[in-house]
Symmetry: D2
Subunit: 473 residues, 4 copies
């Protein structure tokens, strides 16, 4: 994961970039960076949350009518602020670049680039590789023009295997944004009084008062010229398949990605999940979400089943988010401090717990135990997504294959492992139906189905798995 933003127009942009980063902070809390261009590049990066990385004085320093920003997903290694995005290159022109995604063929691309061009990649960051690929392409062009830029992006599309949404600030010329040919990662742009904002999630546009123009298309490049002109070009024609896990878990519910409201998708997931529950004829008294992601799912599921929806698990806001924090404490009681049951709600009830997914199952098991200890008569479990079985090669930092509880286990085994009275998964069809709209019906569901839109060879898989937790994927 990661979040990116670019803003350009006829007034100072640092404030809008900063606010955008606050709004997409859920996409990465490890480091943040902003680069603007006035008559020079202005750079500030910092570790930790956006609110900690930037002070008033930094925003004053970040002058200019064009700029880009980035929030980085937490990683295990001591990457430090030196490796925070945006990256910046001196030649040609001066280009700053920030990126969300994962480059599968990093090693071979790096090797080829270094052999072909005498360029070197200094860090282990995909962003730096992308920046240098773009720079190397642009160096071949005799001069700068949006057309040449789009040709350069074409060159990149031809070389890279992987997912990537990119914003690049090209000196005093403008901001380039593009999305990989499959459109795996989100990217959307809007306009306000001749100012453009391009950003990972639509909620930033809504919040800051930008009128949403549209999502950047898969395989499309967009160039926002400093003079105020917009250039767009559809460069590649692969089949669009956005990451379905954005809808299930990652994106903010108040975002709309590729025309699909994340909140509505989650309501739909609840409806479809309700059908699975009904099929099984399970009797329950209350529906309880595991906060926060699965609340809308549980609300609509409860409506569909006509059963009471109750927030029977309270989340401690002062600790952190299981999925996000890599340095997880090993203390036994941690889960009990993070999540605590409302006994009065649960006591004597047949409870249906709803969560967005089950990864290793260990947390699910602990949560189930909490509910039992609070006096539940029965505990049933429903996952708003199907069984997670396959690793993601496109930037979601999930487990390696062997660690998925659903990898080689039958439903009964998992039911037993997490110790519930019944376990219901969303079906693949239920998932896709819930998310699809009129125009977009095809998604990357590789983590559930193993059908990877872009294949990775053995070495590439090995590298991705080795990099888990220590790289910016």
């Amino acid at each position: 994961m990661c979040g990116i933003v670019g803003v350009i127009g006829n007034k100072e942009v640092a404030g809008n970039i900063y606010d955008s980063l606050l709004i997409i902070q859920h996409r990465g809390q490890d480091a943040a960076g902003i680069v603007t261009y006035s008559d020079r590049f202005n750079i500030k990066k910092g570790e930790g949350l956006v609110r900690d990385a930037f002070q008033e004085e930094n925003l004053n320093f970040l002058k200019g009518n064009a700029g880009i920003g980035h929030v980085r997903y937490p990683t295990l290694g001591g990457m430090g602020v030196e490796n925070a995005q945006p990256f910046i290159s001196n030649t040609p022109y001066g280009i700053a670049l920030a990126f969300n995604g994962n480059i599968i063929n990093f090693d071979s691309l790096k090797e080829k680039l270094e052999n072909d061009s005498r360029r070197i990649i200094i860090s282990t960051s995909d962003a730096e590789l992308l920046l240098n690929l773009l720079s190397a392409e642009m160096e071949k062009k005799p001069a700068f023009s949006p057309d040449f830029l789009f040709e350069a992006v074409k060159g990149i599309f031809e070389k890279i295997k992987g997912s990537y949404s990119v914003v690049a600030l090209i000196k005093d010329k403008g901001i380039l944004a593009f999305r990989d040919p499959y459109g795996i990662k989100p990217l959307i742009f809007g306009q306000k009084d001749n100012n453009f904002c391009v950003v990972s999630e639509s909620v930033a546009l809504d919040t800051l008062g930008y009128k949403i123009e549209r999502d950047v298309q898969p395989g499309e490049a967009v160039f926002f010229g400093t003079e105020g002109k917009l250039y767009t070009k559809k460069i590649s024609e692969e089949k669009h398949c956005p990451c379905i896990f954005e809808y299930v878990y990652f994106a903010r519910p108040d975002s709309t990605i590729d025309g699909i409201s994340v909140y509505e998708a989650r309501l739909n997931l609840g409806k479809n999940l309700a059908k699975e529950i009904k099929k099984k004829g399970i009797k329950i008294d209350i529906v309880v979400p595991v906060p926060d992601t699965s609340r809308p799912v549980a609300i609509s599921l409860a409506e569909e089943l006509d059963i009471k929806y109750r927030e029977g698990l309270m989340k401690n806001r002062y600790i952190g988010r299981t999925f996000i924090m890599p340095h997880q404490s090993k203390r036994e009681e941690l889960i009990r401090i993070k999540l605590s049951p409302v006994k009065e709600i649960i006591k004597g009830k047949k409870v249906l717990l709803v969560d967005d997914s089950i990864v290793r199952g260990t947390t699910s098991k602990k949560i189930v135990q909490l509910i039992k200890d609070a006096g539940a008569k029965e505990v049933h479990f429903a996952s708003s997504s199907p069984p997670l079985k396959f690793p993601c090669y496109y930037g979601i930092d999930m487990q390696t294959r062997g660690e998925f509880i659903a990898c080689k286990r039958a439903l009964e085994e998992i039911t037993e492992a997490i110790d519930v009275d019944s376990l219901t998964y969303q079906s693949i069809k239920g998932l896709i139906d819930a998310v699809s709209n009129q125009k977009v019906k095809n998604f990357c569901t590789a983590c559930f189905t193993g059908e990877y839109p872009i294949k990775a060879d053995k070495e590439e898989v090995a590298r991705i798995e080795a990099a888990r937790g220590c790289k910016n994927i």
Copy 2:
């Protein structure tokens, strides 16, 4: 506000105190402190959140089988770590004390104490005054005994006007806990294998596996002797009137205070509020809570009205809590970054917004505007509590009287001021009915009714109002 905890028994207590402070962190995020007694007192205080104030090494240093802890509510002044609780006194015995509440007659008590006893109060903290009152009382006793201790508490009850829940660690003798005669602030204790824990909210007992014994009674003192024996004494016989705002807003929903489940109280608030809505015959399409406090209210309100419950406002977890952070940014867009509407949910709908209360009305107005901008057809507003009209003298850091929007305005004026199609308040009766149980039917509702259980004279009111924002009330 503030949160307190005491733990004593036959094993190391620092871990349980630390965990308790994490669990009651919502009661104060400005500073935290722990004092334990092994063969000596061990002290560690720090500014900010519990997770920042204590490191592993600090917990290892805090040895002992008895100890107390405190989380402090944020304040404007540069109070620093020197003034963090617990406070500790060398004589008699060595007593450490932590406190939740507000002493109305601070000035006259301080003056009297300093005149009578040659004791001086160094800080402006009520806790230090309480500690010295207790110490001065105990100094008069010929020796230590639980009976003498209870007599000392009686002396305090007779002197102090105000609210106070207190824990005090008395050297190697044990932990004293007491609650003011009206029982305004919560305090509860539980037991686990001969270990006792006394704490502001029951959720800490549940989470850490303590069996809840009971709430400390109003006007009761409890002494947990080091030898494992429990002494209790009801010292004062005033009419119990716990703070009703704890149920409406402050306490965690997974707590039970004086036998009343906070979550159930909030569900009841929703039911009763629904009746008010029905009376008015307002037609609405969806019920939307202002997160987080009013969610359970909105859920039951929606059930009662048989209208869809939707989380149409998303809260940014990376910023902070309006009510809590005193150094509020002045930037206009802040509210939009903190709360953003789910347009797909709201567009074209008649929305009923549910919030826990309306203070100055400025935030409510901004939220209403957000919902309108997101395309709502109508916006109605419901407050789960009655109009706030009177300042609190017992420790809730609300506005002074003049600042309450409901102070001298009719319903129509407020409706217009926050710019909604209709505005519905909970009735006083609805509020009290929702919270009451068989045994507890009388509450402090001063902030709604002006009926103060303990009166403050003019000077005292002046001092309280002057101290707003700069004192630990």
Copy 3:
């Protein structure tokens, strides 16, 4: 070690206290604290250097026309800011106290105090014990007066075994200062326009423009009343024996202690040491000091021998002071980075190295090796003090007995151990003659002679040795 200061008069004192602490910073770099009294006590303590512990805003906060300050010697344990001085007590009156010295009979005094008075000592700090002894004495008095205060100090003199220079701020009444009956630790006071300053070293008075009045006498108490009046009383009549090591090493050369200029004492040490060198008939080419303490010694020694004085060892100012920093790096080259020879000066020369003392000999040996590597023809070594053989019980954090290289070794053995061509120690007589003046001819020389002015029994020695490195002695 440690440094203390008190300032009182008719204007704000925080600035003078802060500056004094900067000036006596060499006496302790581990923590610093200031307490002032305006209409209340104002407290600020911090870890590390004075310049880091206090910000502008802290000094503004520390209002008042009377106050005291302290710098703490670095210690191994995690004492933290909670245990920084000054300590403060609520009763009687409110007394803040800071201290330089060491209480030998801490354990028995603490036990007796706790038994007799129901007071408890919370930390392991001698300062807290002293504060409570003083408070307990004052509690017995019917009212406050300078006479009662001097009686209380008398009570302390009778109880404490050890060295102590003390400043105490007594609420709105004034500042008390006293020095132990033997006058082991320095304490001096001066006056400027009706303001008094009492401080560890005279250089602070000179720098801040105070006219030096005189040293506080051994066994004398001085009280600076808020009304501007000075009260003094000689309470005890022991034989004055100031610590001679202050002159040799600790004190600043621009200080005058008990009428003796530290700089002149060091020049005299050089002269007397020259006589020892002459006796041996050693031929040398240049005299090289080990910086910084032994420079004046080496200057006068070179003059006396009529040999060139050269600074052949350069000190790196960006690292730290061997004797002071307890967390010494273990890296081999550290000494070479801290001290480096000027080869052009040393090459081919017979070098006489001059250092203030030899403790374990390991550093001396390394320095000798440095000089040899730089090409010296011969290396001779002179110590401006006699062989260190006995541990200090009065607050100098030297080694335990077994670690002194001179403890059970003959001169030849030490010469061989540090690998020099000759080794010359100052004689005891040379030391005492160098430091003595007309009035003061008797010193504590226990670390050289084993003649302790105040005896410590076995348990006390054991406690002192156990506390090495982890206590504020």
Copy 4:
């Protein structure tokens, strides 16, 4: 100012680079950075002192057998860690570069480079410009070889006006070092077991056990190949004129620059200055240095005059260095806290103060006053260098012309301004004679004589003066 170092060989270099930076820390205390190459570039930069910028873990991370480091001189602007050196460029090869000096024609060079090469300079750092000039030159070469590298350096020599000593780490190929054609800034290298170290000052080589090979020659480039081979080439044939102020003030006394011992040069300065004193027939009692730089000057001056040398001014080590810290406190007493007189030494004496130079005269005047206040009978002043009259264009952050006290004032006026009984400057001849050796007799003395070896035109002077205090010169 600034300090640079490069280390290459057959073992890990981070430790040696770190130690070197500690040793040359006096050349810059504002920021520090290290870049090494293992199979990738490893980068760590930090603000403040070397000891604060790097932790153990950073050094472990900085793997590789080749690397360079830098310490930055403090500057006023908020340059931050983003602009700390070394800078690094992706193409060609990957080059990291660190630099000491000042580029006079920065603006025109930058403009030309950006026009000619589509390269952009992102920061305002001369180092980044130099790196890109080098990169642009290397890009024109068909392949890498030491010869091509030397040609590239030739291209740089032809373009740059200014002073510069440079180290550059070229990916896995080796380390390039070069010194401007006039050899204004120092640079020296040594060898130890097939490892090379090239560094600003020789003391680092001595300390770390490297055998000094020789100074890099003016206009010479040296390349240390990864395979262990040394390539050198004298590229430019200008007249050597090293900065004479290095000997007077900046360099460590234990360094040897261009074969001249800094310590001996300072002794000679003292001798020659003595002649000036003698000429005037001034009678004095003691010679007192203003610490630290002028100590060796004062020692030899005193010898030559056969007058006593006394350290009559003590420096507080816990504050900072006048010349270095740009955020000078404005408090009046600061000088008194930084420097304090030893009254016993000064009282009643005719004192000759010796300082390295007089800039604005304000500090000198304050010091003179200190000495007078301490009771001196007469105060005479001697400057070990001639009157400072002209600004430095080559990297010494002195005043602009108008601020030099000696700019348009006669000796009598200055004598009166700093309020001394007599004032004696070193003569230009005395200065040059003191520093010269057999081989090097020509120096840059522009700040004294206005004879600039490299001329700056009007715009360039304007830029340099504007950048005072806010740029890395």
